[in-house]
């Protein structure tokens, strides 16, 4: 292998891991909500898009909001904190409006409700911020740097590192804290969890908030690379959904590995097979995994979830 090939492969690996990390974070959001309440949240992509718009509104020197140009440029840290606070509220509200009133009606009304919220949020974003894509700065105001012939975007590294830290945090949360154990208990068996004194309603609300925060972090991480548009979350969510199925729906390590795998494989596939089939590659993997191991790579047996 020539030296250029090695560089190209490393370049693909960095990009693949970065985009895969985002799929993994969004996939985690899917899985956590699925485990807590047994439904797929189709508004997960909008959990990525909405905070990105809020961040853009407060980060950029001039943004058009409801047809009026506003100049609310605030320091980056203040904006990140503000977005996180707002998204905590958003998660609680989402739980209260889209899930809570329908919680005893079976899974279908809840799924449809999340689809409704997704459509509502996309259109609300268009009405609020218009159709112009917005570009927000990255965490480090720094251009690409070169390591030998390899060009690295600092934001790619930020994405990979932040995702790794979040996964570690989540491991500690679930394994070492009472809250985490309560979340796991709720996920495994809500009725029993309630019997042993877990306040299931509250834990579910916390799960929605946590899921919204995962979306928020994904949004803040990708927005500098992808531009903020109302559609930005939709495709990420579709791939993340595929990632969580590949990993085994409901499995946390599965969502992470699935996300990273899809990101890396589609990037390499785009290079070595054909870029026209990038999306197709992700979904061919999905179908292949489902055919070979219907419960996904790390999934429980289907019977347990039925």
């Amino acid at each position: 292998m020539s030296q250029f090939d090695l560089v190209a492969n490393l370049q693909l690996l960095v990009s693949g891991l970065a985009i895969g990390s985002i799929y993994a974070l969004v996939a985690l959001g899917f899985v956590l909500i699925y485990n807590a309440v047994g439904v797929v949240n189709f508004a997960q992509g909008e959990f990525v898009m909405f905070p990105s718009y809020i961040a853009a509104t407060f980060l950029l020197p001039a943004v058009t909001v409801f047809g009026t140009v506003v100049h609310w440029q605030l320091p980056v840290i203040a904006v990140y904190l503000l977005v996180i606070v707002l998204m905590v509220g958003f998660g609680l509200l989402f739980n209260r409006i889209a899930y809570y009133p329908l919680r005893d009606r079976g899974w279908l009304p809840v799924v449809i409700s999340t689809i409704g919220v997704s459509i509502f949020l996309r259109n609300a974003a268009q009405l609020t911020w218009g159709s112009e894509p917005l570009v927000i700065p990255g965490l480090f105001n720094m251009d690409t740097f070169a390591i030998g012939p390899l060009h690295v975007r600092p934001q790619d590294l930020v994405i990979i590192v932040v995702t790794a830290l979040l996964i570690a945090f989540q491991y500690l949360l679930f394994e070492r804290t009472t809250l985490g154990k309560q979340m796991r208990a709720t996920a495994q068996d809500r009725a029993t969890a309630r019997l042993i004194g877990v306040r299931v309603g509250r834990i579910v609300a916390i799960t929605f908030v946590y899921s919204a925060l995962l979306g928020t972090i994904s949004g803040l991480l990708v927005a500098p690379l992808f531009t903020v548009t109302k559609e930005m979350g939709a495709l990420i969510a579709l791939k993340a959904f595929a990632a969580s199925i590949v990993g085994g729906f409901g499995s946390i390590p599965g969502a992470i590995i699935g996300g990273l795998a899809i990101g890396v494989i589609e990037t390499f596939g785009g290079f070595y097979i054909s870029s026209a089939y990038t999306d197709a590659i992700a979904f061919v993997i999905l179908i292949a995994v489902l055919l070979i191991k219907p419960s996904g790579l790390f999934g429980e047996r289907v019977a347990e979830k039925a």
């Binding site: 190209a8 370049q11 990009s15 259109n123 531009t227 990037t267 089939y277 197709a280």
Partner: protein
């Protein structure tokens, strides 16, 4: 008739009734609005293009309706708008709905893929179809009343290719394009133009709709050893991300893009990543007629931002004015007569330049090559088809 009191009252009453009921009825008939259909992509990932189209049409209609006599005989334009959204099925559904609204002409969405999808329905209605999609095929679909108010990709692609090969002395040309009808059609055209110069592209990469990471495509082009890259991409957000990724992957070869590369939004959002890029352009600020200067000023005054002239608001503004001029001249909105008149358009002055209809319905026959520098576009050369 004997004019006694009873007859007098009856006659006066009849006259008064005619005055009250009949006269406004006559005025009403004269002022009957001219229903103009539009199908922009108002929602979905191409909503920006739809918004620009909506704004251009609204400005032209507002101006025409404000002038004395409006379009003609006091008849104003009335816009009937349906959302083509982001996919072809919805565009066709929106068009079918629009055609039930008694419109006399339709300004089509700018996306070639939607125009091609709508063509079977367009064929069944002989009314003027004002289009701005640039794919060569759009005007070869057998739609009787179809006209194109922007330069065809045959002209644009040849201009881009010749510029890269002859002016930038490129020996190895790579192509990056979207996988929709516009991107694929444009790339095919570039391949043909390269063949005329005895060349084949060293890489011809397409990316799927709504992709967000283009590392694989750009890296392949980098690895091909290309010394110039031609881009055929419609979506402004895609273009911005691609420009950023090209720069971040350290590719510094000349970039020559289709008109959407120099879209106002792209220049604003891509910032320094767009610096130095060339684009085939319908329009360059500073090299324009009085019509264009008026359009730019009026647009800014109404919307407080600069229009995207070529791909967005300019061509639809021209479309509405061209129809208004023809309706005024023929004092009729008869679709067949209007189509015949549109075929005879010659040296008509619009925002995008001078319009002359050819046998296919193409009205614009030249583009410019511009270069982006710090969010502004500079004229490099003019290209005629």
């Amino acid at each position: 008739m004997k004019l006694d009191r009873k007859n007098f009252l009856a006659a006066t009453g009849a006259a008064a009734t005619t005055a009250v009921v009949g006269f406004p009825a006559i005025v009403g008939a004269a002022a009957e609005p001219i229903r103009l259909g539009t199908v922009p992509c108002l929602t979905g990932s191409n909503a920006l293009l739809g918004q620009q189209e909506h704004e251009g049409i609204a400005l032209a209609v507002e101006e025409i309706n404000a002038r004395a006599g409006k379009v003609f005989d006091g008849r104003p334009f009335e816009v009937v708008e349906e959302d083509a959204t982001n996919d072809n099925q919805s565009a066709v559904a929106a068009l079918n709905k629009l055609l039930g609204e008694n419109v006399v002409a339709v300004v089509c969405p700018v996306l070639s893929t939607q125009i091609q999808a709508m063509a079977p329905v367009m064929k069944t209605h002989e009314i003027p179809w004002m289009t701005g999609g640039t794919a060569v095929k759009n005007m070869q679909l057998g739609v009787p009343g179809a006209f194109r108010l922007r330069a065809s990709d045959a002209i644009t692609a040849a201009g881009m290719t010749n510029f890269a090969v002859k002016d930038k002395k490129a020996k190895k040309v790579a192509i990056l394009h979207a996988s929709d009808a516009f991107g694929t059609g444009g790339a095919d055209q570039v391949v043909l133009d390269l063949q005329k110069l005895g060349m084949t592209p060293v890489a011809n990469e397409q990316y799927p709709k709504d992709a967000k990471d283009y590392t694989a495509e750009i890296l392949k082009i980098k690895q091909s050893g290309a010394d110039a890259m031609l881009l055929y991409i419609q979506n402004p957000s895609d273009t911005t991300i691609i420009l950023k990724q090209i720069r971040s992957l350290g590719l510094t070869i000349p970039l020559v893009g289709s008109p959407s590369l120099t879209n106002q939004t792209v220049m604003e959002t891509a910032g320094k990543d767009a610096n130095g890029a060339y684009g085939a352009v319908d329009f360059i600020v500073g090299f324009n007629s009085n019509v264009a200067t008026h359009f730019l000023t009026a647009f800014y005054n109404k919307y407080h931002h600069l229009p995207d002239v070529g791909t967005g608001s300019g061509w639809v503004y021209d479309a509405v004015y061209m129809l208004a001029d023809i309706y005024k001249k023929q004092k009729s909105t008869d679709p067949k007569q209007t189509i015949a008149s549109l075929h005879t358009v010659k040296n008509w002055e619009g925002v995008l330049g001078t319009f002359t209809a050819d046998s296919e319905g193409n009205m614009v026959h030249s583009v410019s090559i511009g270069q982006i520098e710090d969010g502004k576009l500079h004229l490099v050369k003019k290209v005629s088809g």
